[in-house]
């Protein structure tokens, strides 16, 4: 982000077309990869691979389509903080759920139909 300075006054910094083309190509390839990754069975690794690919795709969209690479660093921090809070939220909820799941697994409501 060190080059954000020099773009501060480049009011209409337009992303070069070849970068946009390259990014959409990468996104399509990654979409294919994430589908292809389900063809092989890697147990619990499948979901982490899927999430990893999704994160790479999100980074491409954020950095290039949303201009974060050339934008004010503050906007990137806002985005990353939001994501961190979501991870914190889900992480702590999961820890709690793992902790108490044995107590509720045998709960009679578990297999009741609606």
């Amino acid at each position: 982000m060190s080059d954000s300075e020099q773009h501060d006054h480049a009011h209409s910094h337009a992303v070069p077309l070849h970068i946009l083309m390259g990014v959409i190509l990468a996104l399509l390839v990654l979409t294919f990869l994430t589908v292809a990754a389900t063809w092989i069975d890697l147990d619990e690794w499948n979901i982490w691979i899927a999430l990893g690919i999704a994160l790479v795709k999100a980074a491409f969209v954020g950095l290039y389509f949303m201009h974060l690479r050339w934008d004010n660093l503050y906007h990137g921090i806002v985005l990353v903080c939001a994501l961190l809070f979501v991870v914190l939220f889900i992480g702590i909820a999961l820890m709690d759920s793992v902790e108490y799941q044995p107590d509720v697994t045998r709960s009679p409501t578990r297999n009741v139909s609606p």
């Binding site: 209409s12 899927a50 004010n72 503050y74 906007h75 806002v78 979501v86």
Partner: protein, 293 residues
């Protein structure tokens, strides 16, 4: 407001801003803060998903068989392409290319409509099977067995051209609650993973699935929370797409009117940011809902 008094003050520039650059930077900061709240709102639903999946992995395996991965993949591509045309639209606005801007916005709009069209096909197919949200959840696989098979066959063919023809169930399925015990979290795949993932295994270990990659009535009855989560996540996302359609319409109207130039393209830029966020959410929704292994 910007006439005689300040002759060098362009019409788009609010009087409390020094320059167009400052105005755009402020607007962008506001937009990013809004996008952060959007991420937090979706985060709540992702949390519900994570906790419920962690505790009931087998129900996600049942539920996701009713999501067509091909439809999801096509929708992913449609949304990615519309994000691309939106990024190009912003570039066109920045470079004073009015016709190109309008073209790109119209293409983006078509992508949004295409996405909603495919979503409509998916939703109506599920609702036809009684897989409706919330208290309307009333799946009927057994009673309407034939109808379901007819519904299922075309999809099964497109998804797994090499898979064996539909075979009737040979082994009675275990009661649902026992299944969830013998097929815990990270055990070997249940064999009933979607037909397109393992064509030769599709009717395997799980006890001869009677609908190819589809589930039995008892299994489906258990999956109502999965579909509530599915409808809430895709529904909230779909609502964002609908709002995006409205925003893009508005942008096209203003672009046709000639409001935008390399000096003033804030609405295009912010609308683009919003549209890319809708794309970002879908990038995570697609593998998490459609590609469960």
């Amino acid at each position: 407001m910007s006439d005689a008094a300040h002759s060098d003050h362009p019409a788009h520039l609010a009087h409390h801003f020094e320059t167009s650059e400052q105005q755009l930077a402020s607007a962008k900061t506001g937009m990013w803060v809004f996008l952060a709240t959007e991420i937090l709102m979706f985060g709540g639903l992702f949390c519900a998903y994570a906790v419920y999946r962690r505790n009931n992995p087998e129900i996600f395996d049942i539920g996701h068989r009713y999501l067509d991965a091909n439809m999801g993949a096509i929708n992913t591509v449609v949304l990615l392409l519309s994000s691309f045309t939106m990024a190009w639209a912003v570039r066109a606005a920045q470079m004073n290319q009015r016709k190109l801007l309008i073209t790109m916005l119209v293409l983006t709009l078509m992508g949004a409509f295409g996405f909603m069209g495919i979503k409509y096909v998916e939703y109506s197919h599920k609702i036809h099977l009684g897989i409706a949200p919330g208290s309307f959840y009333d799946p009927h696989v057994d009673e309407h067995d034939e109808a379901v098979k007819e519904e299922a066959t075309p999809e099964a063919v497109t998804q797994a051209p090499s898979s064996k023809p539909q075979v009737p169930a040979t082994t009675p399925l275990l009661p649902a609650d026992q299944q969830s015990n013998i097929a815990p979290a990270h055990a070997a795949p249940l064999g009933m993973v979607a037909a397109e993932t393992e064509p030769h295994d599709a009717h395997g270990k799980y006890g001869g699935g009677d609908h190819g990659h589809y589930a039995t009535q008892a299994e489906l009855d258990m999956a109502f929370t999965f579909f509530s989560i599915y409808y809430l996540m895709t529904g909230l996302h779909g609502l964002h797409v609908l709002i995006g359609i409205g925003v893009i319409f508005w942008l096209i109207r203003r672009a046709v009117r000639g409001d935008f130039s390399s000096e003033y393209f804030t609405p295009v830029d912010l609308g683009g940011l919003y549209w890319h966020l809708v794309d970002l959410v879908w990038i995570f929704l697609f593998p998490l809902l459609y590609l469960i292994h």
